[in-house]
């Protein structure tokens, strides 16, 4: 890897530090009675309301449909994720230090794997909250479940629920994109270099003709 690539990878890894201070994902709820909306923000280490009382209000409303209250303490992932993120950042710096392509590819796969695992986990929680409903709930609509969309918008009774990546997810995507770009460039550079090694004569000849 070139010196530039290594610096870029290091910076991309450091970019992930921002995930400690920005939410990863956002869920927005709008209803006629809530023109100002209610919101949830998923951070690397917490689930919180967009405004201080939103989580409380959402739980209050969800009790009508018999949904479990969303308690941040119920998510062991939230205790684990800050460490995994730290590992990814350290890994990225290590890749830059080593300066070889193999570790770079492995690092990028880990980031992608983390993202996929996160989405799968999010889906599973969403499914559980949306389907495991109290059978004595006040509002029971046959066949209705209340799983929020993984990504996109969906009408759930009087609420329109939207789920979108928040700034943190976009930053992670940016890190991944930078890493991939470096990987592609490095890969092509290496291929050109090995091709040159395999056919040094032709290249000299070509230079001579030029």
């Amino acid at each position: 890897m070139t010196r530039t690539s290594r610096i870029v990878v290091a910076l991309a890894a450091l970019l992930l530090l921002l995930l400690y201070v920005t939410p990863l994902w956002r869920i927005e709820l709008h209803a006629p009675q809530y023109p100002e909306g209610l919101g949830l923000r998923i951070w690397v280490d917490q689930i919180a309301g967009a405004n201080p009382n939103d989580l409380n209000s959402i739980n209050g409303l969800n009790h009508y449909i018999g949904m479990h209250a969303i308690e941040p303490d119920d998510f062991p992932e939230l205790r684990l994720m800050p460490w995994l993120l730290g590992g990814l950042i350290a890994g990225g710096l290590l890749v830059a230090l080593i300066g070889r392509r193999g570790p770079l590819y492995a690092w990028l796969q880990l980031i992608a794997l983390g993202a996929v695992a996160g989405l799968v986990d999010f889906y599973r929680w969403g499914y559980a909250y949306g389907h495991e409903l109290d059978e004595h709930a006040a509002i029971k609509v046959p066949g209705m479940s209340y799983q929020p969309p993984l990504i996109g918008s969906k009408q759930l009774l009087n609420f329109e629920a939207s789920s979108w990546p928040d700034l943190g997810a976009w930053i992670a995507a940016l890190t991944l994109a930078i890493g991939l770009t470096v990987a592609v460039l490095e890969y092509r550079r290496a291929r050109v270099r090995s091709a040159a090694r395999r056919a040094p004569v032709r290249r000299v000849a070509a230079t001579a003709i030029a």
Partner: protein, 677 residues
Amino acid sequence: MSRRTIRNLLVALGLIGSATVYASCSRAGASRVGDTSDAAQRVYVSPGKYDEFYAFLSGGFDGQVGVYGLPSGRLLKHVPVFSQHTENGWGYSEQTKAMLVTSYGPVPWDDAHHPQLSQTKGVPDGRWLFINGNNTPRIARLDLTRFETEEILEIPNSAGNHSSPFVTENNEYVVAGTRFSVPAPQRDVSIERYKEDFSGVLTFVRVDSATGHMAIAFQIRLPAFDYDLSHSGKGPSHGWTFFTSYNSEQGNSKLEVSASQNDKDYIAAINWQQAERCVGQNKASSEPARYAHNLVGEDGIARTEWGASVKMLTADACPGMVYFLPTPKSPHGVDVDPTGEFIVAGGKLATVIPVHSFRKMQKAIADKAFSGDSHGIPVLKYEATLAGEVQNPGMGPLHTEFDGKGNAYTSMFLSSEIVKWRLEDFKVLDRAPTYYSIGHLMIPGGDTRRPYGKYVLALNKITKDRYLPTGPELTQSAQLYDISGDRMKLLLDFPTIGEPHYAQALPAEMIKSKQMRMYPIMGNKDPYAVTSEMKTKVERKGRVVHVTMTSVRSHFMPDKIEGIQVGDSVFFHLTNLEQDWDVPHGFAVTGANNSELLMMPGQTRTIVWVPQRVGVFPFYCTDFCSALHQEMQGYVRVSPRGSNVRLAWNTPGAPQPGLAMADDDHEDHENGKGDHQ
């Protein structure tokens, strides 16, 4: 709402506007009112949009403040002040009932006349609204982040607190003046000894600049006249407050004749900075006076503290503190223009509007241009203080407000009109009829240093044929005029809650974003507040039972209570656990002899219920809170006095209802859970 509906609404409003024009024209002639063809558009605030001004209209003898949006005239809130209000339990709930305590005991009503916005440097600062109680002399302070009354101070030695509260330009003081002179302190004397034994007491109430808390600083004992209205100086005249008086004849019966004999009565010009100096020099005598001071504490509970004495000043003890300005014919309003130079009186029986000059008054005092004295108080020569007179203004001038562009607008009660005139030369420029019998008028900021001279609001006493008739008792009204051009234009005419006696207004932007949305539940310091349903409980202390209850959509906890006995005093302490905007809950129980409760999110309110009969009585949420609001109910069982039904309620972990211990009635103890002894 579809676009078509909105268009229909606009057309309808247009028709209403046009109808107003026709009505006005047919009564007064088109030239008097001006072109109002665009009136409907000028006052139309489309659904979901906000008004430009908050207007605070006193409720007069309804004892409250009505908050309206201008220019639409839409009623935004009824803020209870001096009058009990069953809708939210104001004056009934344990947290609020101390607000209405006076030295006469609880006085659950008053006559609320003059709202006054707090000011900084002579302009509204959007912090508080003060208003006087006329009947049992009081001044209230409303907080403008909550639109709630936070403090009420009783004024001793006063009767008919009419010339009040009229703030000084940095809220140094709000003032009070007695409209009815009385023996002060009160004592048993013949009414015939009015001249000898009665006095007119003015009061200066200090306002704490940080908290707004009021305290009586000093009082001034003046001759027994009727001190009618006041306004404080501003700019150069800051440091002075002007009180009109009538009945310089000192009649004590049939005042309509006896007090209308003198050509001139007086404006009492009070140099309150001089009064402060005299108080500082111990020239005030301390006189015993018992008065209530009611204040909402940090825990949201109003409590009464008792005042025991006042510092009383007299003109003799404090020379230079008070001068009389002769003013024609029983002057009513006294209004100071934005520059602080002109003091305009509304001589309600006068044929002119006299305008005094503050500068000339200062010179007259320096030159000792006195025409004599009244009860030892120097009377300045009328000509020496007069800046000019507005000739032929109309009949019955009462009050004047200013547009900040050099014009004054005076209300004419008898000729039922607003007269616009110029301060520069005292010439009448325009006049517009009002429907009918205008009292006060209000330009937003029109009694401050910086009027927002866009509208004037007429506050009318009589409406007669203006609206659909409603039997003998008819509404009062307010009328909005555009004053941005040369001619006044009538835009809107709307009925009001109570008598809109006087009003104030400020730009919505000044306070809109400061509005509280809820009380933080974690900051709730009420001793009976609970932060979770699990902490609810019922406790008996002799014949008193405290029910600590929560409400959250859509249930109460507990919602089953047993073990109450006939004649118990049951304190229902309701905490609204919601932390969501605009989700109040109500609480009402059968046979309550007081009112319902309304709890804002995060707030605790308490009502006392004394059950009179044996039975099982429901309670329920009154404020439609949610889809399952109708289900938000509960039962309280009332047993005979001395019954051994034990106290039980259905909070998890509490003694549960139905598990009767020595229950001697023959209820069915389902599932054999009854614990028979």
